[in-house]
Amino acid sequence: AQSVTQLDSQVPVFEEAPVELRCNYSSSVSVYLFWYVQYPNQGLQLLLKYLSGSTLVKGINGFEAEFNKSQTSFHLRKPSVHISDTAEYFCAVSDRWGSQGNLIFGKGTKLSVKP
């Protein structure tokens, strides 16, 4: 069975500093990869997704992620964070050849941006 590991449950960072949120997945089959963000009292919102092609994916709000097949990783990065980026971030995968669209999530990483 597939699984997603988000190595850090909490990441505190100062405003304008760079951040990397780590995500590894375990799968022997091709997958699609997603990052979602949940702001307080809101639903999950898609930040970006990797389907195929270029391994560097750019998303909304200045975030980007790089797909690394050999390391089965899909780390999320932002060069300079803002207070408004404080939220919980979820990495997810879906199986290309399996059930239609069911997402498998990691446990989430809470990003806390301090002034």
């Binding site: 399996g98 669209g101 069911n102 999530f105 989430g108």
Partner: protein, 115 residues
């Protein structure tokens, strides 16, 4: 365009009682998903509707959970009778097309507490 809405936002019930959660997907979205997040754990898939049909209900924990989507519009998820371990946040998501690449739009969730 209205997003995915869920009702209620919070529900506190006693063990053995019945609770019904409702999800209104984005208009025109044939695909509707239910997920659940138990505290401290991953968001886990429960089931997937395509219009009014259950496409995949492999994630439903047991027969105390009943999901319906009459008419292919809104969906309800009933828990009867509720147990302590059913506590968590129940998310609903919808997408226009089925398939692993299509973006799922999430509602804000219903936080269920079973005492």
């Amino acid at each position: 365009e209205a997003g995915v809405t869920q009702f209620p936002s919070h529900s506190v019930i006693e063990k053995g009682q019945t609770v019904t959660l409702r999800c209104d997907p984005i208009s025109g979205h044939d695909n509707l998903y239910w997920y659940r997040r138990v505290m401290g754990k991953e968001i886990k898939f429960l089931l997937h509707f395509v219009k009014e049909s259950k496409q995949d209900e492999s994630g439903m924990p047991n027969n105390r959970f009943l999901a319906e989507r009459t008419g292919g519009t809104y969906s309800t998820l009933k828990v009867q009778p509720a147990e302590l371990e059913d506590s968590g946040v129940y998310f609903c998501a919808s997408s226009q097309d089925s398939g692993a690449t299509d973006t799922q739009y999430f509602g804000p969730g219903t936080r269920l507490t079973v005492l």
